[in-house]
């Protein structure tokens, strides 16, 4: 019987290896595509097996090369890691499929696939890394690959946007590395488990180090995950990327950095810190600003992809809000939202990408009557938009419900009001999209639906939106365990 103990490292290794082989076989595009999809499929199967195993037997620890911590490098797959890597592998498989079958947007397809594979490998690595320096290395790989999959489009705007992203991302990396140095200074360990144990003793002796480290980390990972005042790179970067890249960046990449932040700040530095420092209040304020300001900016957008990008700023605010409210249900809501936003935003970005490609229209005001020409695609967009607003029966309702209940549990009813307000605001910016598409004068008859292979990912994601809206209990054990782990 195949032993599952190697599965975590195999997930990263499969994607990395495929990432290096795919450009080598670029002359045979069919082989490259098959390898690309095959790697995605294999990793998805492995992540399901790993998640099942973690649910049954608890945390898996893999010693790379057989060297145990604190001297060796370890991969730690706890419920949190298993959950997030399940989300990453499933959503990225759908995006892989879209990237292969969708109309061509980039010049060097094999190179593009390789970059996507590297990015996905790095995301799995961030999630499962057991020591803080490997986490940093994976963060760097994913940052570089994320910039690259924007720049491959090669247009004026995308190069400018990706350069801005690169500079800010490098600034964030600097902050992260500085905070790692400060923490290493205090603990002498890089393994997060050992750091936690040492910090319990030494944090009181060197409070300044820990405080500075935390500040650098909030800024460093805040820039990368586009927490509100640090989001300025996001709208341009996500709006000017190729369709598959936009979906990947908005749906998964920003969230992986949040996961990295939770891993270091909550699970390594420990929750005690949150009662000593005003870090929780700062995060709450930033998250609330993200929700309000992001919605206001989204309302004034006419470019559809920029609207979706600003909506991502809002959703990042939601996730941070849930994690910083610190009540069990709020954290569960935030954990839910990582999955549910990944599904909704991927669906919307892919569907909008299809619309833009089929019609050539990039603005909401140009969409008149397109809903009648592309019924299936716009049905998917409508479902995604309803879910974003949080209509009951769709997945978006579940996470918003948990967040609002969590806010009440934490005794901060004002944040429940904020979530309600934000739902109304998101109706204000999503409904014009639907209304213009279905009403208004007729669109040109040359616009038609794309092929079935392109529509398949949209349909799958739409079904997922409905499925988690109606039956959220499927993943509940994993979400519960994750929240319990974070609140430990």
């Amino acid at each position: 019987m195949f032993s599952l103990s190697h599965a975590p490292i195999l997930m990263v290794v499969t994607l990395l290896t495929a990432g290096f082989i795919v450009p080598l076989v670029r002359k045979h595009l069919l082989v490259a595509k098959a390898l690309f999809l095959g790697a995605g499929l294999l990793v998805t199967i492995l992540s399901f097996l790993v998640a099942g195993n973690v649910l049954e037997n608890g945390t898996m620890v893999y010693n790379v090369g057989g060297w145990a911590a604190p001297h060796g490098i370890v991969l730690v797959v706890d419920a949190f890691a298993a959950y997030v890597s399940l989300v990453i592998s499933v959503i990225s498989l759908v995006i892989f499929w879209f990237a292969v079958f969708a109309p061509r947007e980039v010049k060097y397809e094999a190179g593009y696939y390789a970059l996507i594979l590297l990015l996905t490998a790095a995301m799995h690595g961030i999630v499962m890394a057991g020591d803080i320096f490997n986490l940093f290395v994976f963060v760097e790989i994913s940052s570089l690959a994320a910039v690259a999959i924007i720049a491959v489009k090669g247009t004026k705007e995308s190069v400018e946007a990706s350069f801005r992203y690169l500079i800010l991302s490098a600034l964030g990396s600097g902050g992260l590395l500085f905070s790692i140095a400060l923490l290493f200074m205090v603990t002498g360990h890089l393994n997060m488990d050992f750091m936690r144990q040492t910090l319990a003793v030494t944090a009181g002796q060197y409070p300044l180090n820990v405080l500075t480290a935390l500040a650098f980390m909030v800024v460093g990972l805040g820039v990368k995950s586009a927490l509100f005042p640090l989001h300025i790179w996001l709208p341009d970067a996500h709006a000017n990327a190729p369709t598959a890249s936009s979906a990947l960046l908005s749906g998964l990449v920003v969230k992986v950095y949040i996961v990295a932040f939770i891993r270091i700040a909550y699970m390594t530095l420990g929750m005690e810190l949150f009662y000593l420092l005003p870090i929780r209040q700062i995060l709450l304020v930033m998250a609330s600003l993200a929700i309000v300001a992001g919605s206001v900016f989204a309302i004034v957008q006419d470019n559809i992809k920029r609207l979706l990008a600003f909506s991502t700023v809002v959703q990042v605010g939601y996730i941070f809000l849930g994690f910083s409210l610190l009540s069990a249900r709020a954290v569960e809501g935030a954990v839910w939202h990582i999955l549910i936003h990944a599904i909704m935003k991927t669906l919307l970005f892919l569907a909008v990408g299809v619309v833009i490609h089929q019609s050539g229209y990039k603005k909401i005001s140009q969409l008149h009557g397109l809903g009648r020409r592309m019924p299936l695609t716009f049905a998917c967009i409508t479902l995604g938009a309803l879910s974003m607003v949080g209509i009951p029966g769709t997945a978006g309702f579940i996470s918003k419900l948990y967040l609002a209940l969590g806010a009440l549990d934490a005794g901060q009813a004002i944040f429940a009001g904020l979530i309600l307000l934000s739902s109304l605001l998101s109706a204000v910016y999503y409904f014009p999209l639907i209304i213009t598409a279905y009403f208004g004068h007729d669109a040109s008859p040359t616009v038609s639906e794309p092929s079935i292979a392109v529509q398949l990912p949209l349909v799958v994601l739409s079904l997922a939106v409905l499925f988690y809206g109606l039956m959220p209990s499927v993943l509940l054990p994993l979400v519960r365990q994750t929240a319990a782990l974070i609140m430990r």
Binding site: A148, V159, I167, A181
Partner: protein, 125 residues
Amino acid sequence: MSVEILERLYGNIYYLTSVILFVIGFHTMLTHRNLIKKLMALNIMDTAIFLFFVAIGYREGGQAPILLPGVERFVNPVPSALILTGIVISVSFTAFALALVVLLHKHYGTIDSDEIIAIRGKKYV
């Protein structure tokens, strides 16, 4: 009192230098419009962090951690090893960023960030 402060500063001379370098890099990056200068500033910042990291492991008069008779004090090798990785990462960032600068120059005909923004027509929100 002031002598004491000076002594403490001298005792932490590596940390002090790295913080000064970091601030120089950060300031240059924010205030200069030339993209190449921005990248140089980024590298100065990175170097500051590398110095800081390596200084953590340094001990006065320490030797390389190879067990030889008569060698008592060792430098902690872990930070140096990590920074080797850090340098590689910084090099790849710089290389990639320079490639993007070349592309930007091809598209916009300038490497001045303000001019690029002016050409693009600005919409930050």
